[in-house]
Every structure is written in C-alpha cells, then in structure tokens.
C-alpha cells in the first residue's frame, strides 16, 4: 500500500516537473506578445500625447495582462517616488527584480537596451527606439512560438516517462 502510494507520488512529482518546464515554454510567447502590445501603447502615448513617462507607464499597465502590468506599474511607481532617478536605472532594476515571467536572457537584453534610451530624447527618437525593440521582440516571439510547439509536448511526456522509469527502477 505504502509502496503504491510512493510510486504514485514519484510519478506525480516527475509529471509536475515536466509540466512546469513545459509551462515556461508556453508562457514565454504570451508574455512577449503582451510586452509588444504594451510597448506599442507606450510608443503611442509618447509620440502622440507626449504623456510624461510615469503616467504613460501607468496607463500602459492598466491595459496589459497581469504579469507585464506589474512590471510597468513598478517602474511607474518608482519614477514617481524619486523624480531624480534616471528612468534607465529604474527600468533595469525592475527587469532584474522580475523573476518568474518566463523570459530568457535574450528577451531581457532587448528590454535593458530600450531602458537605456527611455525618456531621454525627443519623441521621434523615442519612437525609433521603441520600434526597434518591438521588431526584436517580434522576432523573439516567432522563435518562442516555434519552440513552444516542439518543447511543450516533449517536456510533458518526458516528465511522465522519467517518473515511470524511476518507478520501475525503484520497485
């Protein structure tokens, strides 16, 4: 009875681990898409309305999915609390603090590059940098989607298979 319970636990744990890894592959394109939507909105706020950055980021946060919204919310709040802090620095800290949003180092590098220019130049220039970041994120998203299609199923099955093997070996 106890051994059956143990076997079930091992199988479930391995399956869960596989599912967790699979989930990061599933989440990444979603986050990337949300980020692109957010940055497009930010570009509009900056170039058409010339909304000051903290307010523009807050508005963006209000219209994006939770994982991404929290990021923009945090940058906006930080900028409002210390008006003297350069936006690039605040942005970088917020990217570094964001764990578990399934982005790779490559994705974060695009965001960090953008952060260095944020709010520091004319509207036209800001829009150029935002367009560049959007193009890069678009490419990364296509890549992430291709990965998702192959990796999600792989990791789910792999988890269950490894669990099954362990059960066979142990018992």
């Amino acid at each position: 009875m106890a051994s059956q319970l143990g076997a079930a636990l091992v199988l479930a744990t391995a399956g869960l681990l596989g599912a967790v890894v699979a989930r990061t592959y599933q989440e990444r394109p979603r986050v990337l898409r949300a980020l692109q939507a957010a940055l497009t909105m930010l570009a509009t706020e900056i170039s058409y309305a010339a909304t000051p950055l903290p307010e523009a980021l807050r508005r963006v946060a209000r219209h994006t999915p939770a994982a991404v919204a929290a990021f923009f919310e945090e940058v906006s709040r930080e900028l409002e609390q210390n008006p003297g802090a350069p936006a690039g620095e605040v942005w970088r800290r917020a990217v570094a603090a964001r764990r578990g949003w399934c982005l790779t180092a490559e994705d974060e590098a695009v965001l960090l590059d953008l952060g260095g220019y944020l709010g520091r130049s004319s509207a036209a220039d800001q829009e150029r940098h935002l367009r560049l970041a959007l193009a890069q994120l678009g490419r990364l998203q296509a890549e992430a989607e291709a990965q998702r299609d192959t990796q999600v199923r792989l990791w789910r099955y792999l988890g269950l298979c490894v669990g099954g093997c362990l059960v066979l070996l142990l018992y």
Partner: protein, 394 residues
Amino acid sequence: MTVSRAARQAGEPAGRSRGAAPGLFAAPAVDDALAFRTIASHRACTCGDEDPIDRDIAPFLPPRLRPLITQLPQEQKARLVELRLRVGRPLAAVLRGDGQWFISAQGLVRHPAAAESVTADDGARLLAAVSRSSVYALEDAFRQGYVTLPGGHRVGFCGEAAVEAGDLRTWRHVASFNIRIARAVPGAADAVLPRLVAAGGRIRHTLVVSPPACGKTTLLRDLARQISWGVPSLGLAGQAVAIVDERSEIAACRDGIPQHDVGPCTDVCDRCPKAPGMLLMIRAMAPRVLVTDELGTPADAAAVLEAVHAGVSVVASAHGASWEEVARRPALAPLVQNGAFERAVILSRRRGPGTVEAILDLAPRAGGSARRPPSGSTGRQVGQGTVINQPVGQ
C-alpha cells in the same frame, strides 16, 4: 516675490552689509518667510511650515548636490532667489539683496574655486527629474525656455540648440539650469485693491504700468487671489476670475493646475496667446474679472476692448515707466483713446520692487485722457502690509 525683496531691503540694511564681506558665510537674517505668513490671509493649499526649498526643490536636485542645499541655514534658504547649475562649473546661488554666492560642502562661499562643481551626471539627473524622465514631453517647454515645477518654481535652461527652419526646435544638450524660487506674496495687493472696487463690488478696469521687474505680476496674482476669495472688509464678495496666463507667470500652472494660490473661483488659461485666450475665457468661462499680463500687441488691445464691452472687468499690465509712455505705445493707444481703463496703477522700484508710484483715476470713458494726480505727493512702498498709494483724484 519681488515685493518681498523690497521689504527685506527696507527692513534690513544691516544684514546686507554684513553679508557682503568676501569669503564669509552669508549673514544671518530675520526669517522673512514668517513675516509674510503673518500677512497671508489665504495661502496656497500646499503651504506648510516647511521651507519651499526643502519641500518643492530638493526632491528634484541631483542626490549628490541635494544635501549641500538642504543643509544651508534656514535664514539663508529663506533668502534664496536662484540656484544655478552649470555643467563643469561651480554650483551657484543668488540670495535676495545679496548677490552671487557659490555653494560648497561647508555652506555658502564667495569664491568660485572653493565651491562644489556640477558634473555632467548631475545635469542629466536634474533634466530627468524636472522632465519627469520624459525629455520628449519637454519639447514645448524647450521652445519656451523653462519648465514650471510644483509650487510655481521655474527651471530655465539652455545649452546646444537644435535648429529647424531658423527656429529653436529643441536642445540637443542642456548645460545650464537656473532654478528660480517662486515666493508668492499674499497681501501684495492690500493697498491697491480698495482703490479698484467700484460701487456694488464691481472691479474697475485697471492697467498696472511699470518697467520690468517692479512687481507687476506679483500684484496681479494677489489681486486675482483677493478678488476670487472676496474681501468682506471691502464689501467685495468672491467672484469668478479668469486669468489668461500666456507666460505662465501669474498662476504658474503645472498640468493646468495653478501652483500659486490664485483663489477658489479662478480659472486659468495657461500658455495660451493672450488675444484668443481672453476671447475664449469670456466665451467659455463667463468670468466677472479677467486678469492678464503684459498687453503689447494690437490684437491684445482689441481683445481687451472686446472684454470691456462684454461687461467683464479687465485687470491687465503693460510695460512702461509712466501712463504717458503707455498712452504713446502704438499698440495700446486705441485702449487709451477709448478710455477702456478706469484706473492705472504705476509701479516702480524706486524703493525696491513693488513701490506704488501712483494710482491714477482715469477720466470717464468719453473723455479719454488721464487726469494727473495732485502734484507733490509721493508714492510709498508696498511691503509688509504698509500703505502705499497717493490719493486718487475724484
């Protein structure tokens, strides 16, 4: 702000001479912020006991330089008129009635070599702070040459210009900042206002005349505030005031919200050219009193006439040393000929900014010429609530 300088100069000649010794820290002076507060009947809602430097300016300063300024003695902070940050050069300050100082870690010094230098990073941080990390949102402000901080303080800047079609488009690099500390002077209009109230609490059409930097704007601001709040002792009920603030100096708006107390019933048309602004305010906001600064073009004059004939009291200002001088200005001549104004307030800085030289009672509309006040009488200074003007001809 300018009137406060008058009060200080009149009240404290000793403080100035002590402060002038080279290499010494600034001489202590009586806290005049306190003196003004006793005059104040209604202060802006942002008012606390805290110094405006600590409250409004310090959060925007680069963190490296912030303590140098917040650690200055209170009486020096109270006299601070300008803070100047020039990249690569010493941090400088201008004290009221006391000229140019430099700021070091030990306090104010006379010699620039002993002062703390402003770095490029300090400049970048200050620009980020005053623009709220949004230099792109400053393009209009760049063209104007300044931004307004909460509290009505102005940050003017210059540097390397980017020119487009012969006009300044933006600054490519900003290297010089001038932070001008705004101190509204509630009570500046105390001595003038009683002369401007007609029967039934109507405000007379008034033109404030003076050369630059004599306290015109300060007077207009306080007139707007008192008329808007109402002055029961003059039988003046609060009435709707519209300010057309082309240069954003009267109300010092930030995001359209006045940073000075200009009264509870006051609407401000910020940064809009005067002539269309005046017509728009009459049409849209139905004011009883219209306040505007520095009439100068024929379009301004036409808009004032329009307002006068629309039954709105106009309180405006114009550059000029005397009423005769204003009457000779081609753009303003139609106003004088039409007898648009009933009162003229002439200011000078003979005894410091805000000295009221005369309040003229201009002849009835049909007459069109100004009646001189009795000769021999002298103007007295507007300062800490002192009375001020000469008799108005009846």
